[in-house]
């Protein structure tokens, strides 16, 4: 009698597990109404807004993956597939192109950005007057938060600025390399780094950091975001690309600190 009951529970348990497994299987992509977008970390907030607006007007959902541009390029290289790729630098877009991972014809510039120096908002004293920027390394103690120059565009731009102003030796050993632009900002927000070199767009919408200097556009390579379509052409993609060119989209970009004069 007891073996009958336990046999019954075993059956029920197995059935339950099987049902759970089936439910856990990945559902087939609803092909028409979803676009996968791989985008640089520094555009995550603005892309969310764009996605919301885009869905409202077209009903198409954007599924997004954010990381540093270099990381994304390596993911594509590793076999990941996306419908649209947004890179924060020309370098990583060219890399993806060289490996034939994107549609070359579709590469076009999206928006610009600038590099700024930021401090935690609790630091209310520091002010950098235009002539004082040369003394930058001596204006703070502790670490300097930058993206990892090896694979994060904002880090590479920061590195260029550091070289241009000859701060390399003074700042040697003081870096806190972050894995993407989000992280670089986060370190300053958390007070772990006293100073950070981040995008204007990120600093602009953060309440926890204060901009102390906006670097001139010539201080480094021009910071331009590029977008390109993936290899699989989808109908919805054309809609998306034309949306990105629209007035509406441009306004969203500007409201988030991009294309700053």
């Amino acid at each position: 009698m007891s073996s009958f009951i336990s046999g019954n529970s075993l059956l029920r348990f197995s059935f339950f597990i099987t049902v759970m497994l089936c439910l856990s299987c990945s559902t087939a992509k609803k092909k028409e109404k979803v676009l996968t977008v791989y985008a640089a970390a520094s555009v995550s907030k603005v892309m969310h807004e764009i996605a919301t607006d885009f869905k409202k007007s077209t009903g198409i959902t954007l599924r997004m993956n954010f990381a540093s541009s270099g990381t994304l390029a390596r993911q594509l290289e590793g076999g990941a597939e996306c419908d649209y790729f947004v890179s924060a630098s020309r370098e990583w877009m060219s890399y993806a192109d060289s490996l034939n991972l994107i549609d070359k014809q579709s590469i076009h510039a999206l928006v610009n950005n600038r590099i700024v120096a930021v401090v935690p908002v609790s630091n209310t004293d520091l002010v950098i007057r235009p002539g004082e920027i040369a003394r930058f390394p001596s204006l703070f103690q502790g670490r300097l938060s930058i993206g990892d120059p090896n694979y994060v565009p904002v880090g590479k731009y920061a590195q260029q600025i550091i070289e241009k102003y000859n701060w390399k030796s003074a700042l040697n050993g003081k870096y806190l390399p972050a894995k993407d632009a989000r992280d670089a900002l986060f370190m300053v927000e958390m007070g772990e780094a006293e100073m950070g070199l981040v995008y204007y767009s990120d600093a602009f919408q953060s309440k926890k950091v204060r901009i102390v200097y906006t670097f001139p556009a010539q201080a480094c390579d021009i910071i331009r975001y590029y977008g390109a379509a993936g290899k699989n052409k989808k109908k919805a993609l054309t809609t998306f690309i034309s949306y990105l060119q629209s007035e509406k989209a441009h306004q969203i970009w500007m409201d988030n600190g991009f294309n700053h004069r």
Partner: protein, 231 residues
């Protein structure tokens, strides 16, 4: 393949750092884990399940979450971190100490578990026999419980060491990826993977990581066997 074995300075530094972090982590954890394991094995008290749950928490939390909790506690603005800085001028987050602390927190439940199991297998009747012969609790522990639970303690030590070698999530959040200071082998591997053309370097590090962990396991088995042979 000719320059496969030419490790860069950064790689050597990562290897050395991994080893030092793992060693410090295991050494610092050991006394605390042994004490806690003994206490949990031998004593009962109110709130015991809660303590056990807290100790096991890092085991079930994603390491990234653990790292984040550490950051909240010990970061520059953290509850404890800010006090440490105000009173002693000490930074913990994003330093070598943070890497050690991150490893310690994630390995702690493993160590306690292994050691506790081992202590529980020691017949407590032997401990009470020792007491009738004049030993106090500490002496009974050092002369009876400890030698008899040595295999578990060794295994706890090695598990801690090996876990620390592989620790990534909590380390990268709490200690950051600073070459020469907190960039251990897993973090260096992670960085290398992001950079095109660094496959060889990544492979090198991967091999070292495997060798280290494998070596630690083999050594542990060897030690345990030695202990058993002595009996």
């Amino acid at each position: 393949m000719e320059n496969f074995f030419s490790f860069t300075d950064a790689e050597f530094s990562a290897i050395g750092l991994s080893f030092r972090v793992a060693l410090w982590c295991a050494v610092l954890i050991l006394p605390l884990a042994v004490f806690l394991a003994w206490y949990l094995a031998r004593k009962s008290f109110r709130g015991k399940p809660i303590i056990e749950g807290l100790i096991n928490l890092p085991l079930v939390l994603p390491p990234v979450a653990t790292g984040f909790i550490l950051l909240l506690l010990f970061g520059a603005k953290g509850i404890i971190g800010s006090l440490l800085f105000d009173w002693f001028g000490i930074h913990i987050a994003f330093t070598f100490y943070a890497a050690v602390l991150a490893s310690m927190v994630v390995s702690f439940p493993l160590a306690v578990r292994a050691i506790r199991l081992s202590i529980e297998m020691v017949d407590s009747n032997l401990e009470s026999a020792a007491k009738t012969l004049g030993a106090n609790t500490f002496q009974s522990f050092m002369r009876i419980t400890l030698p008899l639970s040595l295999p578990g303690i060794i295994s706890g030590f090695v598990l801690t060491f090996a876990r620390s070698l592989g620790e990534f999530g909590a380390t990268i959040i709490f200690a950051g990826n600073i070459s020469g200071e907190t960039q251990t082998i897993p973090l260096a591997l992670f960085s290398q993977i992001q950079i095109p053309g660094q496959e060889t370097a990544a492979f090198r590090l991967l091999l070292v990581a495997i060798l280290f962990s494998f070596g630690a396991m083999v050594f542990s088995e060897f030690l345990v066997k030695k202990v058993h042979e002595r009996r």
